[in-house]
């Protein structure tokens, strides 16, 4: 669909489409997407991936290696697990130091996008960097 708005006296045209509850916009050579579900309050902040104290699956895929055990102390930047998708391996790392509080996946698990995989209990003083 083509839409047009007038802003400060200038017309702006964009191509837009809702695909599966996401609104896609192409405007001036850039494509971006926002949640179209009005009721969605659930934070799915930029990125899944490693967000503060939880490690989310950044894509649908298979868990092929887990480097940590429950209760293990870990350093910020340490590899937590390896996922495979589209024949490539992706290593997910901890964004803060702490202790493994929860492991919500097994090796060989097929996981969906955004699934929480591992939870870290931060060391006192270690602050979660905003994932923006």
């Amino acid at each position: 669909m083509e839409i047009k708005i007038r802003h400060n006296g200038i017309d702006h045209k964009a191509t837009v489409q809702v695909v599966k509850e996401t609104l896609w916009v192409h405007y001036k050579g850039r494509t971006f997407a926002v949640e179209a579900r009005a009721s969605s309050r659930k934070s799915r902040k930029a990125g899944a991936g490693v967000s503060s104290d939880k490690v989310f699956a950044p894509m649908p895929g298979k868990v092929i290696k887990i480097f940590v055990n429950l209760g293990q102390e870990i350093e910020k930047g340490q590899a937590i697990l390896v996922m495979e998708a589209m024949k490539m391996e992706y290593t997910l790392k901890a964004e803060l130091s702490g202790k493994i509080a929860q492991i919500e996946c097994c090796i060989e698990d097929q996981v969906v996008l955004g699934k929480m995989l591992v939870k870290i209990e931060p060391t006192a003083g270690s602050t979660a960097k905003s994932a923006g």
Binding site: A14, V19, T31, A36, A46, A48, G49, P58, K87, E89
Partner: protein, 487 residues
Amino acid sequence: MKKFKRIAIANRGEVAVRIIRACEEMGIETVLLHSDADINTRAYRIATKTICIGSAETTKSYLNIPANIEGALASGAEAIHPGFGFLSENADFADACDKAGIIFIGPSAKTIRELGDKVHCRELAKKAGLPLVPGYEGENQEVSHMLKEAENIGLPVIVKAAAGGGGRGMKLVSSMKEARELIESAQREALSSFGSSKVFIEKYLDHAKHIEFQIFGDSTGQVIHYFDRECSVQRRHQKIIEEATSPSLTDELRRQMGEAAVAIAQLGKYKGAGTVEFLLQDGKFYLLEVNTRLQVEHPVTEMVMGVDLVKAQILTAQGEFVFNSHQLRIPHGHSIECRIYAENPYLGGVPSTGKLGKVEWPEGPGRRYECGFDEGDEITPYYDSMIAKVIVWDESRSRAIQKMVYVLKDSVIFGVQTNIPYLIKILNHSEFVNGTMTTRFVETYFKDPIVLPELSEVEKRLVEKALQQSRGGLVGISPWQSFWRGI
């Protein structure tokens, strides 16, 4: 000499479409040998016939030799085109085709074994006097032994699949600390991608350019080259942007490298399309490997040389392709290819899957789109995330870059995130514009995910209007209460 009536395609996505288009124009029927996950793809829709040969997992379908042979036989195809990736460089597959009485469109199984297997290739190269990168290609694949070899060669080294290509299963080892994990990981990826865990180790040239020559052997055994491509823009050893010809070669270097490429291809009795890859550093070139198949980036050569490599492959397999010795082979203008990956550029390139919305590739002179999917198709997590290639041609390199940037901005792909914003940043980088990029260009300047820009006022108002319209005019809900969709 035998004209094919029907060709089976043992591949998927954009390359399957590319091969089907060539066959259609030649009046040849096509049979797509596909997995059950690939029903909603362009190749499936346009093939004359389709045969499902297995489930989504590549080992059950696209890497399954008996299933492909059976499918081809059942469909009455006289030849198989393997595309690139999957079984395209698998000598056993070429043998199986022979045995089944089907023509494998590519070099002979013997040539694949001699040139395609990197170990044999290096031996052949030594015979031909081609310069090689120092490395270890032994049979002992024990990780402890590999670690010693890596130390002997001297870090940094690269670990790569013996049977592979295209960056799959390649790992760069910069410190001994991470060496074990990386070698193991490379072996696992090699096994899952190529069916063999064998890897080898090579000295990493840290400011080299990736230059390759398109070679071709006709039906009479003549081998020539169609000049060079540069593919230095690589991420995790996978090419992202390729161009023809290279902006880095002097006439003399081009002549020497072209002769070297033809020499090794002739030694391997090359028939059909292939690529001889080199690294070029400090004015010296080293043989990297020979890819005994069509290359992903073959279109840039086609654009500047005025050839159709897929048709030439088919004609060669029919035994009727002979070079015209009177024809001058001179490149015209400049061509660039960008690989479009379904991935999130704001998250370092993690794959983005889902149903495609609108897909628009704006028409224009000197623009070519190789695309495997259309609106409504599903990008699944089972395969490589390359969903399309955008190829441009213009009279000069600077104009081709300018055109590519414009075309990428003007293209619309909804439903999955793509690397287009990332590509645009690369194309605008001064190293790329000046043509001085090396294979470390991406890791040097584009290591971090690019930053998702804030929405401007106008963009926010567009979103509001679009959401209002899509909700049938329901107003009052600010989209800023909802959140950015990261993937």
